[in-house]
């Protein structure tokens, strides 16, 4: 297939996706569970892909994702809360000290930029560390970021540890998908570029990569900053989706969940992460919900055992453990969805050793 036809097909598929989304939303209504899951799934897809860029493609085992999402979410919310509402939101800080509001799109970009800037600063010392030491250091930084944001002294800016709300949100599923699609497309382009190949070389063998003339620190720093940029945007989108925001929710368990999504999808597969995100969100928010309610069969005479509040998460985590232990490659391994439709011989990515 020629490159131009391939591009045409891709664009066609994207347009088709948005048309389908539009009709789904018209048919089911924008508050239906389907649309809700699609919204949250798209946001998680972006975040999971950004984590995969780091963990799956560059081989940097970072557990700081929640921290960068937190920075992004707060940047967005703090900058976009309307002036008229500030007095009520910052009820303990006399309306706070920020006396301007930026449009939502500026807020989202600022969210990404601030997260990236922070990553650049943290990356300088941290990226010298290896594997599990890196993991635990980034985890530590995420916790420190959370403590700083909750610090009372910063209250006039961050509202301390209290809830932020009334910032602009999206009503329809279309803008979420648009934002997530653009960001993921950028990451895909990056991975298929020279930089992407350098990232993978670092992952597969750091020392060999260095011998080939790849500047290790430079490339690691780049992957870290870009990943955090998109995590920041993902955080802003998540804040918009939730409609309210509190630093408390961005604990290390949030990072773990995203890591598990990446693992389920396959470390090193963009399409795997995307599919796993939708599956993960749909299962946890929707399809497995029935496990949490007591159920009676045969006209109320037989009570289905075990089913009560919390059972959903148990089943869910058992499934995750099975994937982690027995299907270590996840849904996609290192392949991509589009590889499946192209003949194997032509597929350069597919013939990994």
């Amino acid at each position: 297939m020629k490159k131009s036809t391939k591009n045409l097909i891709n664009i066609g598929l994207l347009i088709l996706m948005f048309v389908v989304l539009y009709f789904l939303e018209q048919h089911f209504g924008r508050r239906s569970m389907l649309i809700t899951v699609l919204k949250k799934g798209a946001i998680y897809a972006l975040i999971a892909v950004s984590m995969n860029l780091l963990n799956g493609f560059t081989g940097l085992f970072s557990l700081g994702q929640a921290g960068f999402m937190l920075v992004g979410a707060y940047t967005y919310a703090v900058l976009t809360i309307p002036m008229a509402k500030r007095m009520a939101v910052y009820q303990y800080y006399e309306g706070g000290i920020i006396n301007f509001t930026v449009p939502a799109i500026v807020g989202i970009l600022a969210a990404g930029l601030l997260a990236a800037l922070l990553a650049a600063l943290i990356g300088l010392p941290v990226l010298r560390l290896k594997s599990d030491y890196l993991a635990i250091a980034t985890l530590g930084f995420a916790e420190i970021i959370r403590a700083i944001i909750q610090w009372d002294t910063l209250g006039p800016i961050t509202n301390g540890s209290n809830l932020l709300k009334t910032y602009p949100t999206f009503k329809s599923v279309i803008p979420v998908f648009a934002a997530a699609t653009i960001c993921i497309a950028v990451i895909v382009f990056l991975i298929n570029s020279t930089y992407g190949r350098a990232f993978k070389a670092i992952r597969d063998d750091e020392i060999a990569a260095e011998a080939m003339g790849i500047n290790l620190f430079h490339h690691k720093q780049m992957a870290f900053v870009i990943s955090s940029f998109f995590a920041g945007i993902g955080g802003a989108l998540l804040a918009m989706y939730q409609g309210s925001l509190q630093a408390n929710a961005f604990k290390s368990s949030m990072t773990y969940e995203i890591l598990l999504i990446v693992v389920i999808g396959g470390m090193g597969s963009i399409s795997g992460s995307v599919m796993a995100s939708f599956l993960f969100i749909a299962c946890s928010e929707w399809w497995l919900r029935f496990l949490d309610t007591e159920m009676y069969l045969f006209g109320g005479t037989f009570k289905v055992p075990l089913m009560r509040s919390g059972f959903r998460m148990v089943v869910f985590s058992v499934v995750i453990m099975i994937v982690v232990l027995f299907f270590r490659k996840g849904i996609m391994g290192e392949r991509e969805l589009w590889d499946l439709f192209t003949p194997r011989r032509k597929n350069k990515e597919g013939v990994k050793q």
Partner: protein, 391 residues
Amino acid sequence: MKRILALVMVFAMMSMAAVAMADTVKIGVFEPASGDNGAGGKQEVIGIEYANSLVPTVEVGGKTYDVELVIVDNQSATDKAVSAAQELVDAGVSIVLGSYGSGVSMAGGEVFADAEVPAIACSATNPGVTSLCDYYWRVCFLDPFQGTVMANFAMDEFGAKTAYVLSQLGDDYTTGLATYFAKAFESMGGTVINEQFTEGTSDYTAYLNNAVNGGADVIFSPTSTTVASLLINQAASMNIAMPILAGDTWESSVILDAAKGTNLTICMSTFFDENDGNAVAAEFVQGFKAWLNANPDKKTNNGGNDIVAAVSALGYDAYMVAIEAIKAADSIDSVAIAEALPSVVTNGVTGSISFDEIGDANKDMAYIKKANTETVAFDFVKTQSVAELAE
């Protein structure tokens, strides 16, 4: 390829929407059943369930509708609350009751406002619940009032000059109430030592030491009951002599159990007293106790005894207000109910309920109680009204 096809099939099958049943009106119950506020949330739910057992139907447009309660668990966490609220909206509820805890109500409020479903908070006292959400009403008093009541009580009753105020980071109820208490206490010439702890803290001895070393005369710690039991236990083992004051969450059997047999002085403000003179309240207390004793699992949710918690009374009142609103709207459409709600006036267990333009109940009375560590019950101390405070 096969794997993907299978995934698509599963997705398609699961997406089929359930069809709503006819002739029922759904009322959402948005409460924590787990997490830090799980114990209190359950007490609020049984109040609502009791009300539902008394008034299980409602007349709309000449037709009788069964009221179906859709109960979800918001897990006492603001991020989980969003999912729980969406579950209610997806279930097609006409109106929502709850939640215990202000933070979760504020988080859920965004979802309800977006879906144009009205919500009535039972015991969420933070001003932000209603002031930041056009679809939230409430049947209880607010924290600025409650904080002022307790600040006055600390000064009048214990002659306190210095107060140690302890609140939880990331919990809007505790930080809000603590701030309003501190403001009131300072405006009356007192000194305040303010400290905060993070979620999941187990060791409160350092905080209690800070209170002692700071020369505090009282401790004000409006925390969740989970934190309270740790705090009380550690205060008892340290022989803390100064009184410990708190807000409405502490009127719970969890506190009584923790304080049993200790020498601590523990007082809190609350919404309601069992022995209140009003006739509606007397009838409610009698009926509710009988109902609890007849339903063992409900009694377990109440903490294993038949002491009537204020939050149960508020849950009852909120349900009755919701029924009145449905009647007034003469519709089960959520938007119509939201329009009718502001003008509803009822005579509830916790006093007469009418709403101001923000959506708050016009309530002006707080009850102060003391935990009796010997009889393991709450002793009524006094009532305090807005008018008395103004003097």
